[in-house]
């Protein structure tokens, strides 16, 4: 039981946060709860505090919309929040698509898809291209372009307001991740992930590697959805500084040797100077 807890504690926290937030949103529409209303595009916390998706706001700006105060304030709150706790913490702790793509990644490992699909023919930088493209299309079409195709919104809105054919989009993301490209959606294409990678570039909360403890079992690299950020494993005792790290903490809990843990960026720096 204790090992189960040790191996999955962050995963359980994450799923609790993700599903808990969904439940609050769902309750707001179904039973009129006023804790967290709206959806991930824009919400109202406790009926007063506005929260908005800064990437959606950016697209609206590119599309030539006049941003209302609530949207600007809401987007700023969210941006500052993720600048502190790690940009892509959104991806692994809030975004409902993460549950879908994690499931695909797990199944992919279990049925060993990678053994016959070794090549990863796509670059993880694609998301920044998609991000740029979304802003260009928003500008040219006068409309927030990604918001009209986002499977994140489709899934999230679907759960709260009803799916329609939305499940098909979710199924496509699942199958794409399972059979076409490992970590395909979240790790390669999703421009929201790309956006939060940039937001979280200088965030405070970081995973830190202690090389002295590492036995190079590489379990962390197997579970990591953004394997490239763990390039230092077994080589250097440094924090994971890439904004692409989602702070999902799977690497921390699968590590049997206490070689990975959360740290706060500034403190880490000072310690190094002190040494």
């Amino acid at each position: 039981m204790k090992t189960l807890w040790n191996k999955y504690r962050y995963l359980m926290f994450r799923r609790t946060t993700q599903i808990g937030l969904l439940f609050l949103y769902f309750g707001a529409n179904a039973w009129g709860w006023e804790i967290l209303m709206g959806n991930l595009s824009s919400s109202l916390l406790f009926g007063t505090i506005p929260l908005s998706d800064p990437y959606a706001a950016l697209q609206m700006l590119a599309a030539g919309a006049i941003l209302a105060t609530d949207i600007i304030v809401g987007a700023l709150i969210i941006t500052v929040f993720y600048m502190i706790i790690g940009g892509r913490a959104f991806c692994s702790w809030v975004c409902p698509v993460n549950i879908v793509t994690d499931a695909a990644a797990l199944l992919r490992r279990k049925i060993r898809v990678d053994e016959f699909a070794k090549r990863q023919p796509a670059s993880r930088n694609m998301r920044y291209w998609v991000l740029g493209l979304s802003l260009i299309i928003s500008f040219l079409m006068g409309i927030a372009a990604f918001e009209f195709i986002s499977p994140i919104s489709v899934l999230h809105r679907g759960i709260i307001f009803g799916f329609g054919f939305g499940w098909a989009a979710v199924l496509i993301v699942f199958l794409f991740d399972l059979l076409v490209l490992k970590n395909g959606w979240c790790g390669h294409i999703c421009p929201l992930g790309g956006f939060y990678s940039l937001v979280g570039k200088f965030s405070l909360i970081r995973v830190k590697h202690t090389q002295e403890n590492c036995t190079e079992c590489m379990k962390c690299k197997v579970v990591c959805p953004e394997g490239q950020v763990l390039y230092m494993i077994g080589k250097e005792s440094i924090p994971v500084l890439s904004g692409e790290c989602t702070n999902c903490a799977r690497c921390i809990e699968v590590c049997d040797d206490n070689a990975l843990g959360f740290s706060i960026r500034e403190l880490v720096k000072n310690k190094k100077v002190g040494d």
Binding site: A28, N29, G32, M37, G38, N39, S41, S42, S43, L44, P50, S52, D53, A56, A57, M60, A63, G64, A65, I66, L67, A68, D70, I71, G74, W129, V130, L133, I136, I137, L140, M141, G142, I143, A144, A145, E147, F148, I149, S153, V154, R157, G158, I160, F161, G162, F163, G164, F165, G166, A168, A169
Partner: protein, 270 residues
């Protein structure tokens, strides 16, 4: 020793070629993706026949301003408002309503509007003298099909008139003689565009199998006379003449005098 630089040179050249190829491939995929993406967005936002919540700004601005959060949908106490989901063939995630299913009941406090964070639902547009006023909302305009409306057959029905929340202003009943029977009257509904909010209560109430009075977006339902027609009997409208300027256009038939042109075989008119 001479071979080495040659080899290095070919290697850098190879790298450069690879780099250029990779960039070209990236640009190609981006262009293709961008094209499909834009085409899709253009297609899904082209839907004109959509009724928006009260206070909604012009459709083009609405589409770029609405953040698709669904707060208006949650605020609606009658579950009138829906968020467009895949398969609805409406711009994805934007709020709309179907009056025949659930019309807008025109709450005096209009809960769906003040909660909108983005300004896509504009509070001032439904405010009179500092107070919310649902009666000035313009969600759409009710249109009557005189062929299928049974009141126009001579059967007495005033369901829409009775259902209208602005009864007597948005819908009135007109009397006329029924020449077919010679002794009965037609009591037919008439919609007044200046008062109708497009709430759809009439559409909901209509007794025919498929509603014979139905709400359309105002831009779809109404024509436009154009600025060159002036109501000469209306003093305010005639004021527009004061700063009017004329444009003289010349065509093939303006070479001759008008009367000559009319006396010719009219060939040149066609």
């Amino acid at each position: 020793m001479q071979k080495l630089p040659m080899k290095m040179k070919s290697k850098t050249e190879n790298n450069r070629r690879k780099f250029i190829l990779r960039m070209a491939r990236g640009a190609g995929i981006t262009a293709l993706g961008g094209f499909i993406w834009s085409a899709y967005v253009d297609e899904v936002t082209a839907s004109q026949l959509i009724l928006r919540p009260p206070g909604a700004i012009m459709e083009d601005d609405f589409l770029r301003t609405c953040i698709k959060c669904g707060l208006c949908v949650e605020a609606c106490p009658y579950d009138t408002l829906l968020l467009a989901k895949p398969g609805d063939n409406k711009p994805l995630g934007t709020p709309y309503f179907i009056p025949r299913d659930i019309p807008c009941y025109m709450c005096p406090d209009i809960p769906c509007v003040p909660i909108c964070p983005s300004g896509a639902l504009d509070e001032p547009s439904v405010t009179t003298d500092g107070k919310l006023d649902i009666n000035i909302a313009e969600m759409g305009l009710a249109v009557i099909d005189r062929e299928t409306c049974i009141a126009f057959w001579g059967i007495q029905c005033d369901a829409c008139y009775r259902a209208c929340p602005i009864m007597g202003k948005a819908i009135t009943v007109e009397y006329s003689k029924n020449e077919r029977t010679g002794k009965h009257a037609y009591l037919t509904p008439l919609v007044h565009a200046d008062a109708c909010t497009g709430c759809g209560l009439c559409e909901k109430a209509c007794v025919t199998e498929k509603a014979s009075i139905f709400v359309l977006p105002k831009e779809v339902a109404m024509g436009k006379a154009g600025s060159y027609y002036i109501k000469g009997w209306d003093k305010d409208d005639e004021k527009r003449l004061e700063d009017a300027s004329s444009i003289k256009s010349t065509t093939e038939i303006s070479k001759e005098k008008a009367i000559d042109s009319l006396n010719s075989d009219m060939e040149d008119l066609y």
